[in-house]
């Protein structure tokens, strides 16, 4: 056992943290452990399933009973991996630990701390009195956690078993004609096979986690009892010293130094031997009676995981110190408190400004709506691609329309009349047309204004405009004249 090659951090953990470490180990080495469990189980399981072909539940029961055996190979492999020892699956299988199997399959079968106790049998190979003494020491702590591990893994295994079984029964197409239950509701042989194979799958899946959790608990107890962490620290210290010595001097110098050290050491040894056993014991007793020994104090506190202790150090912000220095230099701490009052004034003004900014930001939505409601919306200048500003219209719209009509520019003439009407409706009657409004929707808005004559006129204009624009039907000249007269009546400056 070379502690320097230990693959996990050798520190003392709580029992539940040790279980976490075990699950982590199972995940890290899952493939090896899973196949190890599978390899251990498969030969005998296959035989049993063949023997009990018609009632696979019997085979399942026997396989389940032999479960302590299947846990040994993954544990054995994990113990090798823990110290970074190379071992392939087959060589491990050949070294399959079979010692003390019978008790585990008889009176220890229902041990609730099996995963915790297994390493004593499999790895330490202890039996009889030695085993009992060893377990007594180990069980001094963590027995409850070992029990918890057994219970949690049992529940999880059941969950996985039912999960797999239900998934198979739900997702098997009816067309395959697979019946899990017969007409009496009892399981068919096929159903038994399905449940048995699901149980085996669940068993092999959970087995590495259960074993590793127990193993991690066992490791934790040994680290605690045998101070592996301290031993590793000393090893590291010694290694660092050796490396430093090797770097600092050359080969010859090292040799000379080694000789000197040996001589000095032998002097030291000689000196040490001068002390008798009794005087040494007295000295130790004196030291132990000192103030630094014999006191025990337990401290408990909450802290965040991965919390950097350095952050907890109280440091006064540099900028505050600079500010106070500046204040002392420029304003000073006068006895009439005028400087302090000025400081308070500045702080209050800043606080008020901050509050104001916060409130403006917090209620920006309602405030913006309030602003919009209060402001009068500017009429559009361009609508439907037409310039609808009053300035864009000719001074005498009807005359311009009739002139264009006379020149044969029918479309331009009616377009001008329609645009002029829209412009006046927006400008004088404050109608809120939108770009998505069609002609009939615009007419409906005019109608909603409640001026019947205006509404009738605009509808008539809209009908004629649509006939020309979309139906390409040129209206009679009289109709256009009527519309121009109507425009003068309803929308021109005279109409005001």
């Amino acid at each position: 056992m070379n502690l320097d090659k230990l693959q996990v951090d050798a520190c003392i953990r709580s029992g539940w943290q040790a279980l976490d470490l075990g699950f982590l180990m199972a995940r890290a080495w899952f493939r090896s452990l899973y196949f190890a469990g599978l390899l251990a189980m498969t030969p005998l399981s296959a035989v049993l399933l063949l023997v009990f072909w018609e009632s696979p539940f019997w085979a399942l029961a026997i396989i389940w009973w032999l479960k302590p055996m299947w846990e040994r190979l993954p544990l054995f492999i994990a113990s090798r991996k823990l110290f970074d020892e190379k071992s392939d699956l087959w060589s491990s299988f050949k070294a399959f630990p079979l010692k003390d199997v019978l008790p585990w399959l008889l009176w220890r079968r229902f041990s609730m701390q099996r995963a915790f106790d297994n390493p004593v049998t499999v790895l330490e190979e202890l039996k009889g009195v030695q085993r009992r003494q060893r377990l007594r020491v180990l069980h001094g702590k963590y027995s409850d956690v070992a029990l918890g591990n057994q219970f949690v893994c049992f529940c999880f295994e059941l969950l996985v078993w039912f999960g797999i079984s239900l998934a198979i029964s739900f997702f098997t197409p009816d067309a395959l004609g697979i019946k899990v239950n017969d007409s009496h509701g009892d399981l068919t042989v096929l159903g038994e096979w399905m449940f048995s194979l699901s149980a085996l799958a669940a068993m092999t899946l959970v087995l590495p986690f259960h074993s590793m959790a127990g193993f991690a608990l066992y490791l934790n107890r040994r680290i605690e009892l045998e101070a592996w962490d301290i031993e590793i620290s000393f090893h590291n210290l010694a290694n660092r010293k050796r490396a430093a010595a090797a770097r600092s001097v050359g080969l010859l110098a090292s040799s000379v130094f080694a000789v000197i050290v040996c001589l000095t050491a032998s002097d030291g040894v000689d000196a040490a031997t001068d002390h008798s056993r009794e005087s040494a014991s007295e000295m130790i007793e004196d030291v132990l009676q000192g103030e630094d020994f014999g006191q025990e104090k337990t401290l408990r506190k909450w802290r965040f995981r991965d919390w950097n202790e350095a952050v907890e150090e109280d440091t006064f912000p540099e900028w505050i110190i600079e500010f106070i220095e500046w204040w002392e230099t420029n304003i000073g701490w006068s006895t009439d408190f005028s400087g302090t009052a000025a400081l308070l004034k500045v702080i209050l003004v800043l606080a008020f400004a901050g509050l104001l900014i916060y409130l403006l930001y917090r209620y920006r939505g309602p405030l913006s709506r309030l602003g919009r409601a209060g402001s009068t919306e500017q009429p559009p200048e361009v609508l439907f691609g037409l310039d609808v500003t009053p300035q864009s219209l000719p001074p005498d719209v009807p005359a311009q329309v009739m002139r264009l009509w006379g020149e044969g520019a029918y479309r331009e003439a009616l377009s001008l009349l329609y645009r002029a009407s829209l412009s006046r409706l927006i400008d004088r009657h404050e109608l809120a047309f939108r770009a998505s409004h069609t002609e009939a929707e615009c007419a409906a808005l005019v109608k909603a204004r409640g001026i019947e004559s205006l509404s009738d006129y605009f509808w008539q204009l809209t009908v004629v405009w649509r006939q020309l624009a979309y139906g390409h039907q040129v209206p009679a000249g009289e109709i256009v004249q009527d519309l121009c007269r109507g425009w003068t009546t309803e929308l021109s400056d005279v109409a005001e």
Partner: protein, 316 residues
Amino acid sequence: MNESSSTTSAALNALRDHINSRLIGQPQVVDQVLIAMLAGGHVLIEGVPGLGKTLLVQAMAAGIGGKFKRIQFTPDLMPGDVTGHVMFDMSQGKFVLKQGPVFTNLLLADEINRAPAKTQAALLEVMQEHQVTLDGKSMEVGEPFMVLATQNPIEQEGTYALPEAELDRFIVKINIDYPQAEDEVLIATRYALQSFNEEPGDNRQLIDVTVAQQQCAAVEVDDKVAEYAVKLVRATRGSTLLRHGAGPRASIALLRCAKALALINGVGFITPDDVKTMVLPVLRHRVILSPEVEIDGLGVDQVLGNLLEKVDAPRS
């Protein structure tokens, strides 16, 4: 608008009055069904049972002098039950063709979403091509031919949602709702005394649908209006409110329906108003709402209404 178009418009109004006299309180539904008929399309009607859908089709069939058949779609309905099949006649000693109910003029596919996809798909060919392939031979169904399919919006258990490809075949989707209180009083008093089959008024053929469809196709479309229709359809694509927008078939359907509306109104050209009026019936079944919008409880009509507001109307 020429004289024959005016005659057709008058005949359409007569037909509309005839149907409205039987189906009380649903004038908008009647208009939209007539529009779909003129546009040569099919109609998907969504509404709770008992709002007179069968009566509508019966009255319409009588008005156009056509035949009417009805299929009640059920989960065990087979494609052969819709289109027909070839069977061996023992007495004649040979295979004879038995035509299905699709060989008619107006086909009422009641609760179409109760049948599985295979049976629904049997309607695809006949809806698109107006023909059925039986025993390797293509056979024309009656002309005019129109499918009026219904589905119930509340009982969704045990239904098969229509696939997008089939929904696209319906030119409009009409939501039929309960009539107004006064109309319901009229319905109750009238049909408390007589059965639905006792048709009041005359049963004369009021219109030649084939001629009306030809005149509908001849309605003039200005380029700007066509562009507007396409813009409206394209506005449904790429919107974050919709998971799936309408395809080019929707643009075609929109213009066709707008033409039909113009013809009913007695106008020989379509306007942006005609297009905008038909947007909701034409598009509401061709788009799929995004999940977030559905969670917010917005309906298709609301979302489409918002999108329409973002498309500028033309002024040619």
